[in-house]
Symmetry: C2
Subunit: 370 residues, 2 copies
């Protein structure tokens, strides 16, 4: 019988469970949990979890509570489902004893300080001692390179948003508010089959376009405003992410100029988004172009990030933490220039890195030749 994708992922993960390292992994982070088990539940709040995985060489257990038992059984078919009778700490301790864990790997970048403190106190009471150690990020690294099915979902999520943007722009006239347009985007995306948004849509016009993370407001869009659309859909859990800057009528010369610089920076950076390049290279290429054009102080954020089950994943395209780009990674390339009080321009493509270079997933014609 063909192995499921989750069995394959478990096999890879288990190769890391060698002596000297954790023999059991405790996984709580929702995207890691879904990636390894197929369990789709999200966590409604930081301090609330819909489930934990416990994985060692032999067992793969999903511990959840009665609210989620039925979904868990349907979705995580390669896992034993255990429904909590008492609190999670008590149940985890019982299981750790049963499966003879000695070193438990945990997600240091997800577990809170308090959860860690409470649980390490609890395991001290166990008969045979268990030591806790932070995991090495191998699940995050497994998630970096996407397989064919993942890419299919991401391409479909991107296509939904390309079509939505076309439709929105077709009907867009000055005078509508940012909130109205943002709502239209959400509704069209859901009509087109999106599970939801990857993140709340950004529609930022005029001076609001100077805020890289603007929230849509009651501001009415003006005819010559720069309008930044930063939008993404979610499909099968996977995200898309795309930005276009649009003008309803030809903008003032300054924005034509800025637009041209950002677009040049983007196209130049895309040349360095290929297997074997460092993740810092594309960022520095784009940053140099913007700096040489005199706008270095107006591009504060990183060039891009990876995308997958989460909108923001590693590796990032930034001046820090160089890693080597690989085939199958999906990253964004999104330079921007933001002039406080006036507006801004950001252009973002989401691309999959293929053997010979980037393939754009957010393909559509909404660009200008300024």
């Amino acid at each position: 019988m063909k192995k499921t994708v989750f069995q394959d992922r478990l096999s890879i993960l288990r190769q890391g469970l060698t002596s000297g390292s954790p023999d059991t992994l405790w996984i709580v982070q929702p995207e890691n949990r879904r990636y390894l088990s197929g369990f789709k539940a999200s966590d409604t709040q930081l301090n609330e979890s819909s489930g934990s995985l416990l994985i060692n060489k032999k067992r793969a257990i999903l511990i959840t509570d009665s609210r989620y038992t039925i979904e868990a059984q349907e979705q995580a078919r390669d896992f034993e489902i255990i429904t909590l009778k008492k609190d999670l700490d008590t149940e985890l301790c019982r299981l750790l004893g049963q499966i003879k864990t000695r070193v438990l790997g945990f997600e240091g970048d997800h577990l809170t300080w308090e959860q860690h403190r409470r649980f390490s106190k609890q395991i001290k009471k166990l008969k045979s001692p268990v030591r806790m150690t932070p995991m090495d990020g191998s699940i995050g690294r497994m998630r970096e390179v996407k397989d064919r099915e993942e890419l299919k979902s991401m391409k479909a999520a991107a296509d939904i948003m390309s079509a939505v943007l076309d439709e929105v722009l077709h009907g867009l006239r000055p005078g509508r508010t940012e909130i109205e347009v943002a709502r239209e985007i959400e509704e069209l995306a859901r009509d087109a089959g999106a599970e939801g948004m990857a993140f709340p849509p950004i529609v930022a016009s005029g001076p609001n376009a100077a805020l890289p993370h603007a929230t849509p407001s009651q501001r009415r869009i003006g005819p010559r405003d720069p309008i930044i659309f930063d939008i993404g859909a979610r499909l099968n859990g996977y995200c898309s992410d795309m930005t276009r800057t649009v003008f309803l009528e030809p903008p003032v010369p300054m924005f034509k100029k800025i637009y041209g610089i950002v677009r040049r920076a983007q196209l130049a950076a895309l040349e360095y988004v290929r297997p074997g390049e460092k993740s810092t290279k594309a960022d520095s290429i784009a940053r140099d172009i913007i700096r040489q054009a005199g706008f270095g102080d107006y591009f504060g954020h990183s060039l891009g990030h990876s995308v997958g089950l989460a909108t923001h994943e590693t590796p990032r395209l930034s001046p820090k933490n160089p890693v080597t780009l690989e085939e199958g990674m999906v990253v964004t390339v999104e330079p921007g220039i933001y002039i406080p009080g006036k507006g801004g321009v950001r252009l973002e493509e989401m691309v999959v890195i293929e053997r010979h270079g980037p393939r754009i997933l957010t393909e559509n014609d909404n660009y200008y030749d300024f």
Copy 2:
């Protein structure tokens, strides 16, 4: 000049900054941050922060990055806004030195293990030593009792959802899918002025009503299905939360019976939601009624929780952690009975605790006299 609500909250918080305890607080948790400063930005992902507060007896500082500077300046007017030049850890260290911090309080239930590890390593390099200690939850406790403005927002958010439910039920016929109805709820709520949903609306029909945290599906609603609506809007940052169970045609006798039990449990529990009562009392009253009716195994979750800037806040109405209820707290009372494979009934009111008892904020007529 009249003090702002944020100045009042800072005064109260600063009373706790006595010798022997932290002299400076580092606040990252988005709702705490908004409660104390007015800064509205949310954090898009667990591992991404739009800002940190640093509060001591004299200074109130909001550290953010260039994406949020302008919003921060407009929204957090009682705070000094500092835009990050380097990474947060470096900037925090510089400031801690400048304001002569000796003991830094942090949010142990929000900061991740890794953030804490990295930052405690970093502060070891400071000239005068800084010790890190978890905060005692006083901000969470300040947030428990709502003032008049907060209650006004919560009542308005609840009213939106009462009106939305009326309108949805008016037009609801068998054959529509749960997803369609959930989308209608979102759209009507936004039309009515909601900023967004407090949480994704639950519309769970037939067997799906047996899943307390069901996700709306493509299932078509049947005429005699129990349909659970668990819905909440957000207004000025504040949440509402309400559940009704609805039948389009008279249900089979079992569901009439279950409905009657749940409603009785709810009404009885509401009698114990008053100042001076323990938070465990209402839960045990409801639980006893459901148990005595023979459905004790089918009510797995707690009776309720507090609501505010977050949908789930402390105190909870549960069998654990008894605390004394106070005037001004806003809690839900939501017993349920869930029969796997068949369906379920949950009824939820959100109430503010007043001197003489609970005042229902989620008032509307969508109840049956079974």
